[in-house]
Structure formats: structure tokens, C-alpha cells
Amino acid sequence: MHYVYLFSTFLFLFIQASLAQELYQPRNIKAAYAHETRSKSGVPGKNYWQNHGKYDMDIKVDPQSKLVSGKENIYYTNNSPDTLHKIVIRFVNNLHKPGAIRSSNASKDFLTSGLRIYQLRVGENTYPVDANPWGTEAEIILKQPLLPKSQTKLYIEWEYPLSKESGREGQIDSTTFFVAYSYPRISVYDDYNGWDMLPHNGRQEFYNDFNDYTFRVWVPKNFVVWATGEFLNPEQVLKPAIAERLRKSYTSNNVIKIATTEEMKKGQVTLAKDWNTWEFSVKNIPDITFAVSNHYQWDASSVMVDTKTKRRASTQAAYSDSAKDFEHSVEWNNYALAWFSANWPGIPYPYSKMTAVQGFADMEFPMMVNDTSVPSDFRLARLIQDHEVAHTFFPFYMGINETRYAYMDEGWATTLEYLIGIDEVGKEQADNFYKKFRVSPYITNPSSEEDQPIITMSSQLAGYGYGHNAYGKPSLAYLALKDLLGDELFKKALHHYMSLWNGKHPIPWDFFNSINVGANQDLNWFWQNWFFSNHYIDLAVINVNSDSVTLQNIGGFAIPFDIYIEYEDGSQETIHQSPSIWKADMQKAVIPLKNKKRIKSLSIDGGIFMDATPNNNSWSKK
């Protein structure tokens, strides 16, 4: 007994030691912590910095030639402790070039000649630039290096064609354009990788500085512009009646038709100048984008997103006549903004508006989404909009490096889409959708690609290795954490993380550390289990008797699940197990049964945590 006690003490110590084990940190991340730009306590390090740009831009869209041309001044501040000898320019729309790096085959109509640069100045120096060989990023070697804590000004004149076939941006129809990633921007220079030199491959998403923008979009009369940011000059571009409707919508809970297709076509919407200049402005935001059409319907309303300050956000939609689902877009949007603000993540929607534009992408932009119309399935249409709107929090508000850590935003958007779905259509339907689209394709595919650690950089994943590591698996991880901590503590921890890191650039370790602190417990065992392993979901019932049930965790993920028991006396019982059951032993669990009745049959069910081999999840008396 004594020895057994000693032994178990050692075992306990050993397990403690392995639990307290630090999470793997790559060399560059370790270095960032050593330089105290990040910290183990989860708060930004005392030497934390990020660079900043002020963009002042004039962008012209010619509906005839489909050319976008622009002039921009960028006031770029180097807050880093490093002297920058080069500046990296990023223009992801060069993805359209025939020889571009890409992750899937593109059709002919997607291809364009890409960016042309007419002028590029940095400070007082003019740089002769031939952008013809540029990919999606290019280096400008500076004639005068940019010193730490100093500013420089870039001036760029550029032009590029909108592709006939649109992906995330391009021509929607012959007179409707979704114009995104439309200006050459300065790539992120950060504390753990230096310049972000990763080429854009069409699939991965983005990583941007928080910038301030003032921009003017030039379009011919009768074209309306919807954009990121505050619309500064409605009176200078809209007819008074339209401007008035728009103004009203800012305080109205009801959906107001700002302009109909008919009004657009009759020239009753915009002022009749040859070119109208639409001006927008926004601060501390990762990107701006805009859409243009001369025939889209325009709906608007607004919703209170901060009950304390009574702040309202404008909700708008722009869509073609045939898009029956989009007729509900603003109403759904009002619901979603209020719900996300009050429930999950439970933080007031941080922007002043959200415009949903009908396109072909299902893609988020700050204050805008470009969504496919699904007129045959309103439920799906709404779910997609909810998902893209949820991205406001992750990646935009939280400054996620999506290119490398897509699971830090897609996992959350998928989780928020599910949680709001439960509210909208009930748990059963939300579960079914989540299982069908987010879990089943992953768990039923035994390929090695599916079981790569979630921590694997998204830029280091290809094919179907990318999708489920970005969406389904991390979402399951966040939902397992929610089950583990309970809603209240989970929310407290999430808010702790979000309040520390919004407007900054958290990396996965900042997330882990700040949740550990926010939840006031060392969750490294959980992070290790879900993010740093090749685990998947697969439980098996090994043994059942009236005292206990023994389970094996073959797949390894620490999932929550229910045990359904049917007793010989006909009574039934459901016992819920949180992921904490796997904390001490991740491979085996012996669950004591209080109710010492004879068991007729027993099964375990992870619900949305679908099992790779469900056939070994039940037991019945022979």
C-alpha cells in the first residue's frame, strides 16, 4: 500500500511535469518572447510594436474599359526597432496574371495582365519600376533606409484590369464590380518574421497592418459606390431624396429601400455629373474595399450594437433584382449584428456599418461581404452571411495573420456561425448543418492530410489539408473548450483575449497564453491535445459493467460526449462528459456509474464531434 502510494505520487508528479510542459514554440516565436514583444502572461509584451500606414487614395473605375486606376499617398511609420532597407509592396490581384503562383487552376476569364505602375516615389526619391515581372509581392530596395520610429511617404500611381470572371473580386456583371485588394499596399513587417514575403496563391487569406484610410472613388453618374468606412459626402453624389432615405436608415430599425433598380436605371439616384467622387474614411482597420453598380437594388437599415452607448451600426445590402435571398439580407444582418454583439462573442460590433453585396465569393472584408446569392435556400444564404459577418471580429477586429494562422479566424467564424445558427433554427438543424458541412467530410476522410496538427501554418498546407485545419477542426477545438470551461468562464476567457489583442496581431501562442490567464487555469494539456497533435475523433467502448464504463480514445482528441444508458428495468439515463475526462489520461477513461443498475445497452455520442468509426461506440448485453 505504501509503495503503491509512493508509486502513484511519482506518477502524479510525472504527469504534472508533462502537463506543465511548455507548448512547442518555433525558433522565431521563441525569439519574439525573448525580445519581449510578446509575453507568457498573454498580454502584448512591453516591447510590442506594429507598423502603421495612412492611406490617402483616389481610385477611378471605368465601367467601359473595366480598368481600375489610382493614385495614393501612403504615410508609413516604422515603429519597429529595425532599420528598413527595403519596403515590400503587396498586390494580391496579380494572382490574375497567367503565370502567377496559384493553388488551383484558373479559367481564361479569370486571367488578366495584372498591375501596371506609372509612378512610384518613396520620400523624395523616384523609383523607376517595371511591375511587369511582379508577382503578388515585390521588394523596393530603398535608396534611403527607413530608420526605427520614423516615417516616410510613398506615392504610387497604378492601374489594373478587373477580371471578367470574378473570384473574391472582379466583374460581377458588365456594370457591377466588386473592387477589392485594389491598391498596392505595404506588406506587414512584424516582430516574428520581418517582412511578410509569402506570395498569395488565391486560397490563403490575408495579413495586414491596421491603417487609416481616406479614399475617393471616381465613377460615372448613375453608378453607386458601397464601401468600407464612413460615407463622407452623400450630398455631393446622391440626389437629395436618396441622401435623405440613407440618412433616415441610420436611425431606423426598419429596412428602407434606398434605391430600386428602376430608379437606378432612370437616373434618379446619383447626381448627374460625368464623374461622381464618392469619399470614405475609416481608421485603424486592416483593409478597405468597395463595390460599384448602376442597377443593383440598395436596401438599408440600422441596428443598435452597443446597448450601453446606444451606438447603432448601419446595415446595407446591394443586389440584383433576381436575388430573392438578398431581399432579406438587411433584416438578417440586423439580427446578426445585434446577436453577435450581445451573445457570442458578446462584444459590440466594432464598426459603423456592414454592407452585403451580391457577388460570387462568400468572402469577408472589413464592413463588407461579397456573397453568392442562394435564392433556392434562404437558410444557407443566411448562414453564409452570418459567417462572413462574424469575420468582423476575427480576423479584422483581432488583426489575425490569416495567411499563416487561418484557424485563428476561420475556426471562430465557423463557431459563431454555428452558435447563431442554434439561435436561428434550433440546435438540431444547426447540428445537422455543422456535421454535414464542417465535420463529416473531414472525419470520413482517413487521408494523412486531414490529421495534420492545427498549429501547422496555413501557408504550409495544400489541397484538402487546408480546409479542415482552418474551419472544422479548430471550430471543434473552440467548442470543446466551451464545453470544458462552461459558457461563463469560456466567455470571460475569450473576452480577456479579445480585449488584450484587438487592434493588434496575436499569434497562436498569445491566444493560448491569454486564454490560460483569462480562464485562470493552465490549459496547455488541452492546447497540446487539440492544436499540436495528429489527433482525430474516435472513441470506442471497451468494457461495460454496472460499476463503470471503460472507453478508449483511439483518435486522441479530448472531446466532450454523452453516454446514453438503457437499464434492464427500462429506465434511461444520459451522462454528459466534458473534455476534462481526458486530462489525466488521454487514451483511456474509466467512468464510474453511480446508478448501480443492470445495464441493457449503452452508447456514446459526441454529437457534432463525429466519430471516425461509430460502429464501436455502443455496447449491449448479450
Partner: protein
């Protein structure tokens, strides 16, 4: 008593993870083991199978237009237990098309319109497919499914242009062509992934069935064809004196000039038919390639590659007259084939020939290499040796390079290093290895560099691809060699090669067959090198009277030398194999001889370059005097 039990318990607890070490095995690999197509004992499973094609290729190259036209008959045998309701084709040269999946930006002259199919008949059924929409992979829904253990017949007619700018293949100059991946082929259908649907991105390499080929290449007169396989009809395509020179070269070690540029230009080499059809055959090889020129120099010789049977392999080279390195190519080739056949891996070169062709690449093909001319002879030799080493891996060993590039590039990289030592000495070989294979990797602290070697090559990108495929995987093999000793390492590898040649081993087959060959589970080593985020970083933590403490900050189980510098200027050097890291992979206490006053302790990792070399040396602050230590006793 109580203490010893405590210690025993502690030992049990601490050593538990080491005893219990298993290798992570993905679900699909586990399933293959469960189905008996693979095993955990290193042998192919009793249900192991692989599919096979017999390719009858009739290819015409028009040098004027640079167009390849082909007629192809494939007899494909489905040896799998599955009914195939689709057929997947690979045509990796579609990587030249605009708008395709790719991972680097090519020159404009690299872009072509890709493959055009004019006829496709499968088992008598005609398919209306022109290939215009194809990328590098295309699946065709079969009108008639193919049952297990059944054959199917595929007939294809096609054409595609050779790109003006060549990479691994294409036009070398206006009348010289390296023609590879030239025919649509049936993708691999295997036991762990089904159809290989991975698109080719220009960087990842290949995964092919072992097929039989009957290759006929038609070119105008005065063009010579060098190809994979045995030339079947020299008398029909070459003039008699040339045939005779070629015949002689097959029997002697001296380098024979088969044809000079001058002879080529004066029409003294090929038969003067307006078109000559060159026929080659090869059995059980993963691919065929060929090269064509009307003005290249043509050297040939042969060397004994199997001392038992006295079998010779033909060694050839074709190059432009101004190439400085290429006149030595055949001589080097003889040395290399011989060395690989008798010294390492000491398995007779498995093919009948090896032709080195001057192009712009550094790329291996079965029995052929496309190498850029390099004026530095060491580097030229190194590259040629590397590409020839690929004969064993991936070709002889049927490696799935697309997913597991580290299985063949690691091999070729250590072979290049080992033969390099024999050619130009350890110091030069070490220095080349460090510069080309280790330095860039270890100096770069990016998270990309430290991904587990086991990560699939089709998943990693950027510099991570090369680091994992070449640098870290070759270091792993060299660490293994140090761990096992040269002889055991060689015999283990030979066993692995004997068991798996002509098949498709996965990394787990490799780990398990080495485990079986040396009759001890090296799972701790595989876990340390292949399944971890480790890198190379040792550190001298402290020096005390009982020894010096070494920290393994990076984690990789590397061999190293411990050098003790004494105050009298003398030093001792002790080598430690990776074995020292087996029980504790983070910290070691090594005994030091302190009979003399120690000045400093130094770790020399050799080619296992350290990420932070500055902490591999520690000067002693307080001299540990031998006298004092004795007094203390």
C-alpha cells in the same frame, strides 16, 4: 532497500515513455496495415499489390515546330482488390499552361498551350475528350468499370509543344531538346490513397507505377536520340562506323567519342532517311525520357557494375562542345556507377545504362540525367553524383516523391556527400555539404524550417520544401549512420532496398524495415528526427568536477565531439554518437578527465551545424585543478 525501490519506481516512471514509443501512423496508413497490404515488421504485406502498365509509345519530334506528337497504347492491369470506375491521367507538362496551379512564377517563354488529345479509346469505347480543360491531373469516368485483376486497353493520340524556355524538360537550344513527361500516363492507384490526385506544381516530384515501355522516337536525319532503355535498332538509325564505336564502348572502360559535333554537322552519324525511328525498350521502370540533338558531342564508355556477373553498364554523355565539365562526364560516371555498385550502397547499379545530357536542370530520370553545365568541377561532379544516386531512390525503390520527397532526396544527398569524400576528401566534402545543405536551413529561425520531416512534401512550401527534403533528411541519415556504425547502417539499408525495390515503400515501411534489419526498435530515433520540430542546437551548460553538462536545446539527436582544452595547450577529443540522447533528449552529463587543469570545453558538431555555435564553447572561470580535486578526496 527502500531507496532502491524508490529508484526503481522512479526509473520505471521515467522510462515509461521511452519503452512505449510508437510512431504516429496516419489513419490511411493504419488502414493499409489492417488490410494486410503493409505490415509493421518491415515487409510488404501478404496482400501487397501495385498496378502495372505496358506502354507502347510512338513519338515524333518535329525540330522545326518543336511539337511532340504521340500515339500510345497502354495495357493497364488492375491488381488492386477494387473495381475502378474512373481512370486518372497525369500529364505534368501541363504545368506550362497559363493559369494552372503552380508554386513559382515562370518566365513567359515557359508558358505553352499544353496538351491536346485527338483520340482517346478505352476498352473499345471512344471518349470525346480533347484535354483542353486539363490541368496536370484529369479523371475520366469510365464507361465500363475495370474489375480487380483485370486488364484494360487505352489508346491515345496527342500532341503538345515543347516550351522555348526549358526547366526539367523543353528546348535546350533551337535543335536540342530534352523530352520528358512526354506522354499522358495513368496515375498511381495505391493501397493507402487510392488514386493519386495531387496536381503537379512544378516543384514536387513524381510517383509512378513500375511499367514496361516500348518507346519509338521519330526524328529527322542527323538528329541523334538518347533515351531511357536499350537501343534496339542501332543498325537502322546509325551509320556503320558509329554503330561499331557504340558497340565497342559497351565493352571497355576507356571513353570513346561516338560522334563529334563536326561529324554530326557533316551528316556522318545517322542514317540518311528523311526520318529515323529510334526504338528503345525498358522493363519495370517508373518512367522513360529522351533527348534529341543534331550537334551535341556524344561520348560513351562502360563500367562493371556487378563484379559477380561481370555485368557492365553503358555510360554516355551528350553535350555542347563548349561545356567545360562535360568532357569529364563519362569518366566521372564510370567512377560513380562503380562506387555506388561496390561501396555504397554496394548494390549493383540496376540498369543497363546512364546518359548525362546537358540541359538547364539538375534532374534525374531513369537511366538519364538532365544537368546544367557547371564550370567548377567539384560542383559539377557533386550534381552529377547526386542525380545518378537517384537511380536507387526514387527509381529502383519506387518512392512516392510527391508526398515523401525526403525518402529519395535525403538518400541522394548523403550519397553525394559520401562519394564526395572518396573523390575529394572529407574536408572538401564537409565544406560543400555545410554550404549547400545545412547552412541556409540552420541559420533561418522561421517556423517553416522546423516542421517535422514526416510532413508530406505536397503540403510544405517555400524553403521548407527543400529543407525537409534535402537538408534535414540527409542529416537524419548521417546521424543514423553514426549511431549504427557504417557497416550496420549499410547492411540495414541494403536489407531495406532488397525488400522494397520495385515496390512502393512508405516512410513507415522504411522505419520498420530498418528496425527489423538491425533487430532493435529505433522508434526513439525516428520520433526524434522525423516526427518532431527539433533542430540542431547544443550548448555547454556548465563544467564541474564530475563532468560537463550539455543541453540539447534544439532537440535533434546528433553525434558530436567533446573537446577538452587544457591549460597546458593540449586537448582531448571524445566522439559521442546519437545514442547518448536515447534516454534523455534534453540534457547530458559527460565525464571529463580533470587530471590536468582544464581551460575550456568545446562541442564540435561537424556537419551538424549548430543554430547558436557561440554557446558550444565554454571557457572555465575557476580552474579545476587536478591537485585540488585530489586534495578534496
Amino acid at each position: 532497500m527502500k531507496h532502491s525501490i524508490l529508484l526503481l519506481l522512479l526509473w520505471l516512471v521515467m522510462s515509461y515513455p521511452l519503452i512505449a514509443q510508437n510512431l504516429y501512423t496516419p489513419r490511411n496508413i493504419k488502414a493499409a496495415i489492417n488490410k494486410g497490404s503493409r505490415t509493421e515488421n518491415g515487409l510488404p504485406g501478404q496482400n501487397y499489390w501495385q498496378n502495372q502498365g505496358k506502354y507502347d509509345l510512338n513519338i515524333q519530334l518535329d525540330p522545326k515546330t518543336g511539337t511532340i506528337r504521340g500515339e500510345e497504347k497502354i495495357t493497364y492491369t488492375n491488381n488492386s482488390p477494387d473495381t475502378l470506375d474512373k481512370l486518372v491521367f497525369n500529364f505534368v507538362n501541363n504545368v506550362h499552361k497559363q493559369g494552372v496551379f503552380r508554386n513559382t512564377i515562370p518566365d513567359e517563354d515557359f508558358i505553352t498551350q499544353g496538351l491536346h488529345i485527338s483520340k482517346l479509346i478505352i476498352d473499345g469505347e471512344s471518349y470525346n475528350i480533347d484535354g483542353k480543360e486539363w490541368g496536370t491531373v484529369a479523371a475520366i469516368q469510365l464507361k465500363k468499370a475495370v474489375n480487380p485483376n483485370r486488364e484494360m486497353q487505352v489508346l491515345l493520340h496527342w500532341d503538345y509543344p515543347l516550351s522555348k524556355k526549358s526547366d526539367r524538360e523543353g528546348r535546350i537550344d533551337s535543335t536540342t531538346f530534352f523530352v520528358a513527361y512526354a506522354y499522358p500516363r495513368i496515375a498511381v492507384y495505391d493501397d493507402y490513397n487510392g488514386w493519386d490526385m495531387l496536381q503537379h506544381n512544378g516543384q514536387v516530384e513524381f510517383y509512378n507505377d513500375f511499367n514496361d515501355y516500348d518507346l519509338k522516337v521519330s526524328v529527322p536525319n542527323n538528329y541523334v536520340v538518347w533515351a531511357t532503355g536499350e537501343l534496339q535498332n542501332p543498325n537502322e538509325v546509325l551509320q556503320a562506323p558509329i554503330v561499331e564505336r557504340l558497340r565497342q564502348s559497351m565493352q571497355r572502360e576507356e571513353v570513346v567519342k561516338i560522334a563529334s559535333t563536326q561529324e554530326m554537322a557533316s551528316g556522318n552519324v545517322t542514317k540518311q532517311n528523311s526520318w529515323n525511328q529510334w526504338r528503345f525498350t525498358a522493363q519495370h521502370v517508373p518512367d522513360v525520357a529522351f533527348a534529341v540533338s543534331n550537334h551535341y558531342e556524344w561520348d560513351a564508355s562502360s563500367t562493371i557494375v556487378d563484379p559477380k556477373t561481370r555485368r557492365r553498364a553503358s555510360t554516355q554523355a551528350a553535350y555542347s562542345p563548349d561545356a567545360e565539365d562535360y568532357p569529364n562526364s563519362v569518366k566521372w560516371n564510370n567512377y560513380t556507377l562503380n562506387w555506388y555498385s561496390t561501396i555504397w550502397p554496394a548494390i549493383p547499379y540496376p540498369y543497363s545504362k546512364m546518359t548525362i545530357f546537358q540541359g538547364f536542370s539538375a534532374m534525374e530520370f531513369p537511366m538519364m540525367v538532365n544537368d546544367i553545365s557547371i564550370s567548377d568541377p567539384y560542383n559539377a561532379m557533386r550534381v552529377q553524383n547526386h542525380e545518378i544516386a537517384h537511380t536507387y531512390f526514387p527509381f529502383y525503390m519506387g518512392i512516392n516523391e510527391t508526398r515523401y520527397a525526403f525518402m529519395d532526396e535525403g538518400w541522394a544527398t548523403i550519397s553525394e556527400y559520401m562519394i564526395g569524400k572518396s573523390l575529394y576528401g572529407a574536408e572538401k566534402a564537409d565544406s560543400i555539404f555545410k554550404i549547400y545543405r545545412v547552412k541556409d536551413y540552420i541559420k533561418d529561425p522561421s517556423a517553416e524550417q522546423d516542421q517535422p520531416i514526416i510532413s508530406q512534401s505536397s503540403q510544405v512550401s517555400g524553403s521548407a520544401y527543400r529543407t525537409n527534403a534535402y537538408s534535414k533528411s540527409s542529416l537524419a541519415l548521417l546521424a543514423l549512420q553514426d549511431l549504427l556504425g557504417q557497416e550496420t547502417f549499410k547492411s540495414a539499408f541494403r536489407k531495406y532496398i532488397e525488400i522494397w525495390n520495385g515496390k512502393h515503400p512508405t516512410p513507415w515501411d522504411y522505419f520498420y524495415s530498418i528496425n527489423a534489419a538491425i533487430e532493435q526498435p529505433l522508434n526513439w530515433f525516428w520520433n526524434n528526427w522525423y516526427f518532431s520540430n527539433n533542430y540542431i542546437d547544443l550548448k555547454v551548460k556548465d563544467i564541474k568536477e564530475n563532468g560537463t553538462t550539455i543541453l540539447n536545446t534544439g532537440g535533434f539527436a546528433i553525434p558530436f565531439d567533446l573537446i577538452i582544452h587544457y591549460t597546458d595547450g593540449s586537448q582531448t577529443k571524445q566522439h559521442y554518437t546519437p545514442k547518448v540522447w536515447q534516454s534523455n533528449q534534453t540534457e547530458l552529463i559527460l565525464p571529463i578527465d580533470n587530471s590536468k587543469d582544464i581551460a575550456a570545453v568545446e562541442l564540435d558538431n561537424g556537419i551538424f551545424m549548430d543554430a547558436t555555435p557561440e554557446d558550444n564553447f565554454q571557457q572555465i572561470k575557476v580552474v579545476i585543478a587536478a591537485q585540488r580535486s585530489r586534495n578534496n578526496e
